[in-house]
């Protein structure tokens, strides 16, 4: 066990960015859950909204991706 304190902080920070994954999970789950509840109320309108569903999921997921980006930057750029 050797190394410096900056290395330690870097790896702790990289690990902490995994919290962002939880936020993205809640966001994507919220989008999908609301889509499903809407689709079960009005199944005839559901098929026309699948594109909107995936766009919404992609935008919700984007913020989770930024936490991944922070992890990458900490690992390889800092």
């Amino acid at each position: 066990m050797e190394g410096n304190i900056a290395e330690l902080g870097k790896y702790i920070g990289v690990g902490l960015t995994a919290i962002g994954m939880g936020g993205a999970a809640m966001g994507v789950g919220n989008v999908a859950g609301n889509y499903l509840s809407g689709a079960l109320r009005n199944p005839s309108a559901a098929a026309s909204q699948t594109a909107t569903l995936f766009i919404g999921m992609a935008f919700a997921e984007a913020l989770g991706i930024f936490s991944f980006l922070v992890a990458l930057l900490l690992m390889f750029a800092v």
Partner: protein, 251 residues
């Protein structure tokens, strides 16, 4: 993975990121921009796959389509309907670009799932070029089509006057962040899925939990097939959304 010696002292040796290493195909020198690497090989294989499906598959032009022609026509119709629904009928003339993106990403993702293959879309260098091209194309197209009216995209006319400058800053940031999230979404999803499979493959070396880990690999592999398709779909549909913003920049 456990057979790859890395001189590590622990007994459980697996390196899930080793599969993404770019190596030259011939010899083992440094990788220059002109070096033929495994990325070049697998990109070429996916291009050949696209040609086999779309050119050779639809060559017969039969009234009653063969299996290959059916798949080619289904793919064509799927992407055509996507751009027509999301972007509008006037955007159909950009269909070849969107179709190229979709079919190339789908083939790269699916070929990456073959054992011992290389996932070209797991590299930000590859997806970054695709996303930057989309970004440049959409921005230039927006200014060519609408002139200075394209800037209305950042000026939210439905909001109260007081918050519009603030919203303009936010819209500007979210516009320039598009190529970042567009590229990293695809690369990150592909990379993470393959790394997870490799981690479970590393656990399979321990006899006590190997059945569980092999089951987990199977389940993850099924999920990865889904993800490979959905990420190509998402990349394409976001391209369509950006195209819509460029053609009709009314906020």
């Amino acid at each position: 993975m456990a057979t790859e010696a890395h001189g590590s002292e622990s007994s459980l040796v697996f390196h899930p990121m080793d599969q993404f290493k770019v190596t030259p195909l011939f010899g083992d020198g440094a990788v220059h921009w002109y070096t033929i690497t495994n990325v070049t090989l697998w990109m070429a294989i996916s291009v050949i796959g696209v040609i086999l499906l779309l050119v050779v598959g639809s060559r017969g032009r039969a009234i009653v389509p063969s299996k290959g022609q059916s798949i080619a026509e289904l793919t064509y119709g799927f992407v055509y309907k996507m751009i027509e629904d999301v972007t509008g009928k006037d955007a159909v003339k950009y269909f070849p670009y969107v179709m190229t993106l979709f079919i190339f990403i789908v083939f790269s993702n699916m070929l990456g799932l073959l054992p011992l293959s290389f996932t070209t879309t797991s590299h930000i260098a590859v997806t970054g070029v695709l996303a930057l091209l989309v970004f440049l194309f959409v921005t230039i197209l927006g200014f060519v089509k609408n002139g200075s009216k394209f800037l209305a995209l950042f000026w939210v006319s439905s909001a109260p006057m007081a918050v519009r400058p603030l919203l303009a800053v936010i819209e500007l940031i979210s516009y320039f962040v598009r190529p970042v999230s567009h590229s990293i979404r695809l690369a990150g999803n592909m990379m993470a899925g393959h790394a997870v499979i490799k981690v479970f493959a590393g656990f399979a070396a321990i006899a006590a939990i190997s059945p569980v880990s092999i089951l987990a690999i199977t389940a993850m592999y099924g999920l990865e097939i889904l993800v490979a398709f959905i990420q190509a779909y998402v990349f394409t549909i976001l391209t369509c959304v950006y195209l819509k913003d460029a053609l009709h920049p009314v906020h």
